[in-house]
């Protein structure tokens, strides 16, 4: 149960961040629905941070399964991050006013 306090802090942070996200994004014009989605999608590649931490720990753990899982998750998350931000930028570059 020693993990409970950090869990509780995490829960606070999670709820507040959700509310902040909701406040910040409420009024989004349809023009930006796709870029917002793909930009947000790139942010969900934050899992990369988790993948890096896990991979670093894996070397201490000396467990091959952990190394492999960490490695694949780094690849997946990096695809998500790099691809997501780049494709969003490419899209937004096209949006022009007359």
């Amino acid at each position: 149960m020693e993990n409970m306090p950090i869990m509780l802090v995490g829960l606070y942070v999670f709820i507040l961040a959700t509310l902040a996200g909701k406040e910040v994004i409420t009024k989004v014009p349809p023009t930006l629905h796709t870029p917002l989605m793909s930009g947000a999608n790139a942010i969900s590649g934050i899992a990369l941070i988790g993948a890096l931490i896990v991979s670093a720990q894996a070397e201490f753990a000396n467990e091959p399964v952990v190394v492999i899982l960490g490695f694949v998750s780094i690849i997946f998350a990096t695809i998500n991050v790099v691809g997501g931000f780049m494709v969003t930028d490419r899209m937004l570059e096209m949006f022009k006013k007359k």
Binding site: G21, I25, G84, F95
Partner: protein, 459 residues
């Protein structure tokens, strides 16, 4: 974790929030996206510095491979393939979170300590991540046309899903509370993946805007769960932001169809390409028009409102459409575009398509902005749209009753470019086709549009 690292994470979180805020306004959107990318870079660098990486081989190789795949995909993808691109990226995010949870499970398992609280969090993280992963792959397949766009469902599906869900709970319980084996672990993952497939496969093609927004939300939730597992705040915050943004889009899409989320996810609504024979065409006759006739009407009118739909995307006729608009504008015709929120296969699909063809975004109007203007419009030109302009939606007893539609039937003339009289995704007849003011211009959007451009040029 030292103080500097925490401060850097805080800065990163701050930039994510500001970036998202800027992403929701056209003038600042590009800067917002770049700001979020900087936030990500800060978080990555801090993590690498802090994480005590002993051998860099795996980490660096992984990042290089992922960057290459991501960059090439982002560079080469056609704008018309954007829905499936976003779909598959969602899947990679969810998959990565599931793998992080899995790796942490094995690490703690091997170390011989798996507290119950942490164990349940890990199970939840793996579950959400796996469902997001396989669900996104199916969404990708549907959007790319590799598997049927029809909802794949039957009356036992709900029961099967419930059984599978219980199976996941049982396997999860064994993994956390009992002595876990590799077999149970694989069963847990397998069933979670299967659930994702079954859930998304039951959603029809035209409901994909909802499905893809929901999966977007899940990929954020999965990242947050990974944050709970590792006790990492930046993961929790960024994941929560994505979760919220996905949920907002999901709600917008549901509202635009006047259906509940439960109805979209479990309803198995609609079929694509339903046969016209089953529709009671009866004595109603539709008037058809050829390219020359349509060109005459368009070339000599004052105002045109164009209603694009999924058919435009399928035919990839957006560039031809832009040519037509340029020609008409040279003749002094006022051109506007009316975009329905769920036209196409993802939120904002039509906007991306038209932006690619260089249509300026201030020529695009939302449902609320444009509906009052149809009565003062000479010609409403509907290109490959159907259900979103079906006046049946005003009939409360119809299956699409209550769905907000574009009031094209109030325009003085209506030209509909479509392959046939067949019903749209909702599977019901469209009375608009048989109105006196309506002319059907049959053909594929691209060919018809090319003919139209030629005729207008000569008119």
């Amino acid at each position: 974790m030292n103080l500097y690292a925490d401060m850097a994470y805080l800065l990163s979180a701050f930039l994510f929030v500001v970036g998202l805020k800027q992403l929701s306004s056209p003038a600042t959107a590009r800067k917002g996206n770049q700001m979020a990318a900087v936030a990500m870079l800060i978080a990555i660098v801090v993590t690498l510095v802090e994480a005590n990486v002993l051998t860099w081989t795996w980490v660096v190789t992984g990042i290089i491979i992922g960057s290459l795949i991501g960059a090439v995909a982002a560079r080469t993808v056609k704008m018309t393939s954007m829905p499936e691109m976003v779909g598959i990226f969602n899947g990679f995010g969810g998959g990565a979170s599931a793998l992080v949870a899995g790796a942490e499970f094995f690490r703690l398992q091997q170390a011989g300590v798996l507290p119950m609280g942490e164990g349940s969090t890990i199970m939840l993280g793996m579950f959400i991540g796996a469902v997001t992963f396989s669900g996104s792959i199916v969404a990708f397949g549907k959007l790319a046309g590799w598997i049927t766009g029809n909802p794949v469902t039957n009356k036992f599906l709900q029961a099967l899903n419930a059984v599978l869900f219980i199976g996941v709970l049982v396997a999860g319980y064994y993994l956390v509370m009992q002595d876990p084996t590799m077999a149970i672990f694989l069963a847990f993952i397998g069933v979670a993946l299967l659930l994702g497939i079954l859930l998304v496969n039951a959603i029809g093609g035209a409901d994909m805007p909802v499905a893809i927004s929901l999966l977007n939300s899940y990929s954020g939730l999965a990242a947050s769960m990974a944050g709970f597992i590792l006790g990492n705040m930046i993961l929790i915050i960024a994941g929560a932001l994505v979760g919220a943004s996905g949920l907002i889009l999901t709600n917008l899409m549901c509202k635009a169809m006047n259906r509940s989320l439960a109805n979209v996810v479990f309803g198995g609504f609609g079929t694509e390409g339903a046969t016209a024979a089953s529709i009671g065409a009866g004595d109603k006759t539709a008037r058809s028009v050829d390219a020359e006739g349509a060109a005459m009407i368009l070339a000599y009118c004052q105002s045109v409102v164009i209603v694009p739909g999924y058919g435009l995307a399928v035919a990839q006729a957006q560039h031809e459409l832009k040519k037509l608009c340029d020609l008409l504008e040279e003749r002094g015709v006022d051109i506007k575009f009316a975009v329905h929120p769920v036209a196409g296969r993802m939120p904002g699909h039509m906007n991306v398509l038209l932006a690619e063809a260089d249509v300026p975004y201030n020529q695009l109007y939302d449902l609320e902005e444009i509906n009052d203007q149809f009565k003062d419009t000479d010609v409403a030109l509907v290109v490959g749209a159907n259900d979103v302009v079906n006046p049946e939606a005003r009939n409360p007893d119809s299956v699409i009753g209550g769905m907000p539609i574009l009031d094209v039937d109030y325009a003085r003339n209506v030209i509909i470019m479509k392959r046939s009289l067949s019903p749209g995704f909702a599977g019901i007849d469209n009375p608009l086709f048989y109105m006196d003011k309506t002319m059907m211009f049959f053909g594929s959007a691209k060919g018809s549009m090319q003919d139209l451009v030629k005729e207008v040029r000569e008119a």
